[in-house]
């Protein structure tokens, strides 16, 4: 019964979305307020219906109703509750339903809180949003019905892929989708603006919070996925340039560029046409990411969908959405006239450089990811594009971009003074140089590039702090006055300091983990001791442990340093009998500067165990830096200038054109 209600709600949603996609658009063209106003209740109803379907599916998973095919294939009665719930989106059908739910949440958000949007723009945004929803709802209903029954129902389910039974991965897809789908808002606003023929500062101000929220979630989603790969896979790697990773990285890069170019539209009324294009590209890359992962084109586990009809459907969706929006852009884009002018050396110029390099980097990842598919499609002999290619092509563009990050925010709008900016950054330069010399001395003989990498990271972090100090006129005016300035500084400014500083911390993590990792792979017998990076690790033994739905061989390492015990680590090798599949759980001791990482391998015939022990310098900084970036985004979101929806009707009118606070992110 519940399954049928869910299915019914989905079909109802298709009709609601059909109305939402057409009538308000027509109303906006005709100036018919009644038709335009239809968008709001339609978006809210769409959300309620999709939510009902999602809750129905969740209920089926939680109660282990194996008469529903998706549940039978992806769940098991003995699974812990957390993974029964996360199992809802741990499969193709459910994950598409989650995709649509998030789309509906964003749509309902605009409908409910977008009171201060001009009626015609709101109607058009919601109509475009509904068109996307229509495509995906039709896809679900036609090819991937999550509520399909099976007769006769099996006694128990097949269980969820054990690799997905992990807290890190349980929440990875929702965050990723909040990011992907969040960029649909920027897309809808862009397409609506093209239809409307107007892009102004107010438009940018409405788009930025949505883009920022999407970006924060995507950052978090990617970080979670990377963290999971790190601790779950047993060889200490955290980024593999895998197509599925790239699928989420491309929208992130483009979205980061969009975040920055929208600033120029908002503050300086320039780069309008480019920002619109970037919004279209960012969401297109999200769609392509969904396509790569969902269609089976990559033939990995992520590509749950093996049925080619699904792939063709998504491909058609892709062509219509991307082709349609780009055509519209080609027709209407040139008409968007920018009024703001600026010299190449200026804050705007810095943001243009940011966009230029991020676009090249995005294109590079795009080319590398799709090239093997392209070569395969034209029938040439197959080839592989892997990490060595990406490392060789990504960094030459990325390093100059990173080096330029501290300069941009200090440059003046319109016309800047590069020499003056460099002078103001002397302190960051000096600290970076000091770090360079210290690292060179300490790690003499190690990779030379890593020394410069650490200097670059320092430059980013200290540069971000110097920028903040400049704003506060720290040490140049009395401290009390600086504190006063600190109180008045817009939150977006703090957000930028956090995000740029976090980026520097991530860079340090990347450099440290790839340059100075210490690896020990060997066979150990219980009682053996091995020394890694100043730690003594003694394998005390390996015991059998019974988990809720797995059995585990759990090793115990006594870790000591200079004779005193530090910690006991318990790397595990789990076996899930339902899927007859093993997983590794590493045992990690995290300090502020490094991870001590242990993983348990095979039992040898002589009773020994193959073990891997790593000393991973600065890896914790990767996650810390990513969290700083996300917090930066969130702090920026709380900037009062973006709380456009919250105020009352009278104040909403007022909130719009203030724009009083100076220079933001």
């Amino acid at each position: 019964m519940i399954a049928e209600i869910g299915h019914y709600a989905l079909i109802m949603a298709v009709f609601v979305v059909l109305i939402q996609a057409t009538l308000p658009l027509w109303g906006a063209k005709q100036g018919n307020a009644g038709l335009m106003a239809l968008a709001k209740p339609a978006a809210q109803l769409q959300f309620i219906l999709v939510l009902a379907a999602f809750l129905a599916l969740t209920y089926l998973f939680v109660t282990s109703d194996f008469s529903v095919a998706v549940v039978a294939q992806n769940s098991h009665s003995a699974k812990p509750m957390l993974y029964k719930v996360s199992g809802v989106w741990g499969n193709h059908e459910g994950s598409m339903l989650l995709w649509i739910l998030i789309l509906a949440i964003f749509g309902a958000g605009v409908a409910t809180f977008g009171r201060n949007l001009p009626a015609s723009l709101r109607a058009r945004v919601l109509a475009v949003q509904a068109m996307i929803a229509l495509g995906f709802l039709a896809f679900i209903v036609a090819t991937s019905n999550p509520f399909e029954r099976i007769v006769p129902p099996p006694l128990d389910g097949n269980g969820l892929n054990p690799l997905l039974q992990d807290p890190g991965l349980a929440f990875h897809p929702p965050f990723l989708y909040l990011g992907y789908v969040g960029f649909s808002m920027a897309f809808s606003f862009a397409v609506a603006a093209l239809i409307e023929g107007r892009v102004d500062a107010a438009w940018a101000r409405w788009v930025r919070p949505w883009t920022l929220a999407a970006w924060c979630n995507l950052t978090l989603g990617i970080a979670l996925g990377s963290w999971w790969a790190y601790y779950e896979l047993g060889w200490g790697g955290w980024w593999f340039w895998d197509p599925v990773e790239n699928a989420s990285f491309m929208p992130w890069l483009a979205g980061t560029a969009l975040l920055h170019s929208a600033i120029v539209v908002e503050k300086r009324d320039a780069l309008k046409s480019w920002t619109i294009l970037l919004a279209i590209i960012t969401f297109s890359l999200s769609l392509i990411g969904t396509f790569l992962v969902r269609s089976g084109v990559l033939t990995s586990v992520h590509a749950f969908a093996t049925d080619p009809t699904r792939g063709v459907f998504i491909l058609a969706l892709l062509v219509v959405a991307i082709g349609g929006s780009l055509t519209l852009y080609a027709l209407r884009g040139p008409a968007l006239k920018a009024t703001g002018t600026f010299a190449p050396i200026s804050r705007e110029g810095g943001l243009v450089l940011n966009n230029f390099l991020l676009s090249i980097v995005t294109a590079t990842v795009f080319i590398g990811t799709l090239y093997p598919l392209f070569i395969d499609a034209i029938g040439a002999p197959k080839l592989s594009v892997g990490a060595p290619y990406f490392n060789a092509t990504f960094w030459p563009f990325m390093v100059p971009l990173l080096a330029a990050v501290p300069l941009g925010p200090i440059l003046a709008w319109k016309r800047g003074d590069l020499l003056g900016v460099l002078q103001r950054l002397w302190f960051a330069g000096a600290v970076a140089l000091a770090v360079l010399l210290v690292v060179w001395y300490v790690k003499f003989g190690g990779p030379v590039l890593a020394v410069f990498g650490m200097a670059l990271a320092t430059w980013l972090v200290v540069g971000a702090l110097v920028e903040l100090a400049e704003r506060l006129k720290l040490f140049r005016i009395p401290l009390a006055d600086s504190l006063q300035r600190a109180r008045n500084l817009p939150r977006a400014a703090y957000g930028m300091t956090l995000a740029h500083g976090g980026l520097g911390i991530v860079v340090a993590g990347i450099v440290g983990s790839s340059a100075w990792q210490v690896e020990t792979i060997q066979i150990m017998h219980p009682g053996d001791t091995v020394e890694v990076a100043g730690y003594q690790l003694t394998l005390e033994g390996v015991s059998e442990v019974q988990g809720p739905n797995y059995t585990s061989q759990q090793g115990t390492f006594l870790v000591s340093r200079a004779g005193s015990e530090v910690v006991r680590l318990h790397p595990e090798k789990r076996n899930y009998p339902v899927q007859r599949m093993p997983t590794t759980e590493s045992g990690i001791h995290t300090t502020s500067f490094a991870d001590l990482y242990t993983a348990l391998g095979d039992r040898q015939t002589d009773g020994g165990w193959s073990v891997r022990i790593y000393y991973n310098p600065l890896v914790p900084w990767l996650w810390a830096g990513a969290i700083f970036m996300v917090i930066g985004g969130v702090v920026s979101l709380t900037d009062r200038r973006y709380r456009v929806g919250a105020p009352t009707r009278r104040r909403a009118v007022k909130a719009l054109p203030t724009g009083s606070a100076p220079a933001g992110t």
Partner: protein, 157 residues
């Protein structure tokens, strides 16, 4: 994430295993380091875009052992790579060789850089040529009305 697939493959193999196993490793650390370096360049043929250094598939292990045999036999890194490519084709290389088939791959990004860079130069040149237009677009009727409301509000105490 590609390791998801590795794990799937594992499900079909006899038992779990790490990528590089202790017994495969060479006693000479310099030689072993070179073997690891080469392994990172070679694709595990049955995996999804994974190097043989990371993979625990049987075929990856065979290749790792082969690389080590070649190095022990006195091959240089290039010789060892060529030896494998001769037998498995370019597909085995994670860094595809530069050839007409890969020109777009290798030179595409640089070409884009140049084209977009030229585009930027033209953009700024045009800006300078055209005197700065400081005219703002006229307000629409709707905006004028809103402005009026705001001004009224401010006039009120």
């Amino acid at each position: 994430m590609r390791t998801l697939l590795a794990a799937l493959l594992l499900a079909f193999s006899l038992g779990p295993a790490f990528a590089v196993e202790p017994e495969e490793m060479l006693d000479d650390p310099a030689l072993e380091a070179r073997a690891r370096e080469i392994s990172k360049e070679l694709r595990c043929l049955v995996c999804q875009n994974q190097s043989i250094d990371d993979s625990n598939a049987g075929l990856a292990r065979d290749l790792r052992v082969l690389v080590r045999e070649r190095l022990t036999a006195g091959d240089s890194n290039e010789d060892a790579l060529r030896y494998i490519v001769d037998r498995y084709g370019d597909f085995v290389l994670l860094r595809p060789p530069v050839s007409p088939r890969t020109y777009a791959l290798w030179f595409g990004p640089a070409l884009l850089f140049v084209i977009a860079g030229l585009g930027l130069v033209v953009f700024f040149r045009r800006r300078q040529a055209a005197p700065a237009e400081t005219t703002t677009p006229p307000l629409t009727e709707e905006e004028r009305a809103r402005l009026e409301t705001l001004m009224d509000e401010d006039r009120k105490p």
